[in-house]
Each structure stands twice: as C-alpha cells, then as structure tokens.
C-alpha cells in the first residue's frame, strides 16, 4: 500500500522544475550540493511520517 504520491501531483510540473533549476543558478557544485542537502532535510521534516520517508528513500534508490 503506497501512500507516497508517485503519480503527477504538481499543478504545473514544468514551472516547478524550472523553479528548482533557478534556485541552483549561480551556485557552484559544492554550494548546489549543500543547497540540496538543506532542501532534503526541510522536505523530510515536512513529510513527517517515517513510513512515507522510507518509501521515498526506496523510490530514490531504484
């Protein structure tokens, strides 16, 4: 029973993707990696549910 949403869920996927890229503009490789790490931690906290987190970790692995 997957509760993690892996079907389209963003009202405007192209715009969201563009915003993610824009956030990385003018960051060098190390800064980008650090930014991503902060972003993951923030989203992980928002997710809250440990089972959802497990599913997300699994989805990212494969």
């Amino acid at each position: 029973m997957t509760r993690l949403i892996l079907t389209p869920n963003l009202p405007d996927p192209d715009a969201a993707y563009a915003r993610l890229l824009a956030a990385h503009e003018e960051l060098d490789e190390a800064e980008s990696a650090a930014f991503n790490a902060r972003l993951v931690l923030i989203l992980m906290n928002h997710l809250g549910d440990p089972e959802l987190l497990d599913e997300a970790l699994k989805a990212a692995k494969t």
């Binding site: 990696a33 650090a34 790490a37 902060r38 993951v40 931690l41 923030i42 906290n45």
Partner: protein, 532 residues
Amino acid sequence: MPDGDRYPLAHRLYPYARSADQDRDAGGPAHHPVIVVGGGPVGLALALDLGLRGTPTLVLDDAEGIGEGSRALCFSKRTLEIADRLGCGAPMVEKGVKWQVGKVFHDTDLLYEFDLLPEAGHKAPAFVNLPQPDAERFLVERIRTAISDGAPIEIRGRNRVTALETSQPARLQVETPDGPYALTADYVVACDGARSPVRKMLDLDFEGRVFEDNFLIADVRMKAEFPTERWFWFAPHFKSGDSALLHKQPDDVWRIDFQLGWDIDRKAELSEDRVRARVDAMLGEGVDYDLVWTSIYTFQCRRMRKFRHGPVLFAGDAAHQVSPFGARGANSGIQDADNLGWKLDLVVRGAAPDSLLDTYAEEREAAADENILASTRSTDFITPKSKASRMFRDATLALAARHPFARAMVNSGRLSMPSIYDSYLSMPDALPDGPPATRPGAPCPDAPLGDGFLLEKLGSKFTLLAIGCAAPETGLAVVACEPTPELTARYLGAAPSALYLIRPDQHVAARWPMADAATVAAAHSHACGATT
C-alpha cells in the same frame, strides 16, 4: 607513585595486606560465594549492593586505589538515585557540580540551548559533574562504613587475577607481592575494565566499531566566570579542534575536550605548548590557568555477544564500551551493577533459580545496544566519516540556527537515560490507562512523598506501591499513599488507582488498577525468575 602500581594513584585506599587465604597449604584453595574482579566504579557498586544484602563478596583489584586523571565526569540522575539507594548519593551530589543547561554553538553562533530536567519533584539533579576518582572514593568510603556495620565485603588491593577456569566452582589464580595463590568461587563477576584480562583469559569476542578520531582532554584550573552549563561547539571559531566541549568540575577545574582528527602525532599534541596553544585560543588571551591533567583518547562502540558465560558474568566496560558522547560508560556500568546485585543475592541464597542471572544478561545486553546505538549516532554526527554525512551534518547545523526542526537533529551527545527492560521478567501491562513511562520494565521516576521522596521509601527490596488503593497482605514491603499531582502524572495517568510491584533495583515488575494477594504473589515469583 608507590612501586609496583601500573598507574599513579589519586587515592590509595586498599593497600595490600596478606590474607589468610594465601596461607592454605592443605585443604585446597579458599572458597567464596562471589568474587568481583576489578574495583572500578562498577565492581565497587556491585560489591556494595551485594554486601548490604548480606551476600559475602570479595573484590580483587590489581592496584591499591584509584588511578589519577578524571576520565568519567558526568554522572546521571539514575546513577545518583542508585548511589542514594546504596547510601552514597549525598556526598556525590554535595561535591559534584550540578548542571542541567546545555548550549550548542556552531562557529560563533549559539544554535540553541536545552534544559535536561524541566520537571520538578525529583530528589536527584539531572546530572552532576564529579571526577571519577572522587566517585570511586565515595563508594569505597561507603563500603568501609558498611563493613563496620557488618556487611560481608572485603577488598584486596594488589591482587591481580592471572588465570580463570569456568569450572564449577570457578577457579582463579591470583598474583600478589607475596606470590600467587588460588581461590574458588560460585560466581565471578568480571568488572575489570575495557581491556578486561578476564575476557581475554576466556578468549571471548568483543565486537563493534572503532572510530578513527582522537580527542584531547585538558582539565584546567582557573577562576572563570563561565556559567555552570555544558557548552559544545561544532567547528568552533577559535579553531582549536573540529569540535570542542567545555564543562565545569568541582574546585575551579574545567574539563575541555578538543576533537583532533585521526592522523595526528599523539606525543607532539600532548606537549604543554601545543595543549596551551589550543586552550589559549579558546579562552582568549590573558586568561591564567593551570593544566591539571591532559590525555588523548580514542574510542569504540562495541560489546560482548553474551554477558554471561556459566559462572562468569561481565559488567561495565569489560562487557561493553561506548564513545564518551552521552556519558554512558560509567553510568551504564553502574546500572549493570544495579541490575545484577539483587539477582545474584537471591541466587546465592537459593531464593531464586540460577536462570535469573540469564535475565541480567538479557536486560543489560539490550541496554548496551541502546547505549551503543545512541552513542554511535552522536559520533556519526560529531565526526562525520563520509562526504555525504558531512554535507548533511553541515546542512543541519546551517538550518538549526533558524529552524527548530533542525535543532532536534543536531546531535552533540544524547545524555545517558536508563533503559526500560522489555524482558521475560516484566509482566504484561495490566494498567492500560497508566503512563507509558512507568510500564513494566521501566525505572521508577521519583516524586515528592510526605517529607521526602518516593525512591527513598522504595528501598532495596521487592515493594508494593499502592496509590489510592489498598495493598493486599502478601508479606512484601508496602508503600501506600494517596495520589498527589506528581504521582498521578507519573504513575496513574487516567487510572483512578494503581498497585505497582517494584523490583529491588527500583524498576517496575508489574502494575494493576488493584490486585489480590494471589495475583501479586504470582507476579513476585515470576519477577524472581520462576519459569512456570
């Protein structure tokens, strides 16, 4: 330093004296019910507990007293409660520096602060900082008074155990300044420290992770205005180490810890110039201090697979080791002693089956896993070992300054908490409305009671705690009381009344809304290891 000691002594407490056991030509070696190998904090606490219960206990230590240098510093509330039960909590609390506020810094920024014991109504403070030699001295002094009151305890200094056979009874070979002699014992408890010669004699495993990092300890004496708090820095602006810790001790001494990394020249780093350069950078120019003690340590997180091997039981650092983050070494070792004392006493008296000792191993192995897990996680945060783990560590620190959620992830050591024993001995919870924190297996939280405190009244024997109900007549000691706000919060929850069966180590064995004598008697015999 007296000749022949392995290390300089801070306190010479049990000088070698020839024992009659060394002069037995005929009749074979002298026999003792319990021999404790090692008079560190764990062996001493165990001998004291056993002796106060009336079980004859012989402690063999290869030195004549307590080694110099601070080593353990933070003694937890649970340790102080156990010490109080054994009659030496008061001097530890009196001499120790009480603290409960910690501050965590990153570079120059204060990330957050925590308060360890926001809850009132406990006799013992959250922690005291007390140098280990003082703690051991208080234990030995308490043993001396217990002996003069008739407790059958003997400590033999400069008695080094050199061989052990796990026969029935166990056979020990002991080296003394007057030469070797032999002893036999029904039970041997190995409290002989991290390098445990007994563990090696029996060729037993000791597995886990060794961490590749070095920490420099400098104990400095100075008049300083820092508050009595635990201060921890990640990547400190003064650059004396990858992390740093400042902690107050009694008598104007401060414990300072610097993380040095793996590839270092230990000898060079211990030179006074190098140590002073680091301390100066931290304290600022012009602060006057004496270096009292310095040392470099590395650490490991590991444990023996089994704490019991026939008549030999392992406790303290001999059985398990953790990193110092979280102050779980001596504190968890004292809890081993607390768990083993009453069980060994009952078994030696024939009042409980030998299998009760298996529950010591079961309960304390699980506790060691908990401690190792907590201390490994702290270590992974403090000394990240991969690029990815450093990146997430730094990201957490960066977020923690602004967002509370990240503060909860910052891990500069999760300080020692007692374990809840989900073991065979703990009865199913029959008080479903009761607070989870006092379910069977849990250590009893303290609460004000009358003109004193609950834990003082519970003592060292199986006891029925009856709150708002009558205790049945069972022959067990009874503490009966009416609900107070603290007792309600800690023991009743939504239940109108509760009857608790408390073990001699002040952990909950069973609880009910109320119960009859037969139910209580069955739970009591279950908690003594009866298997039917």
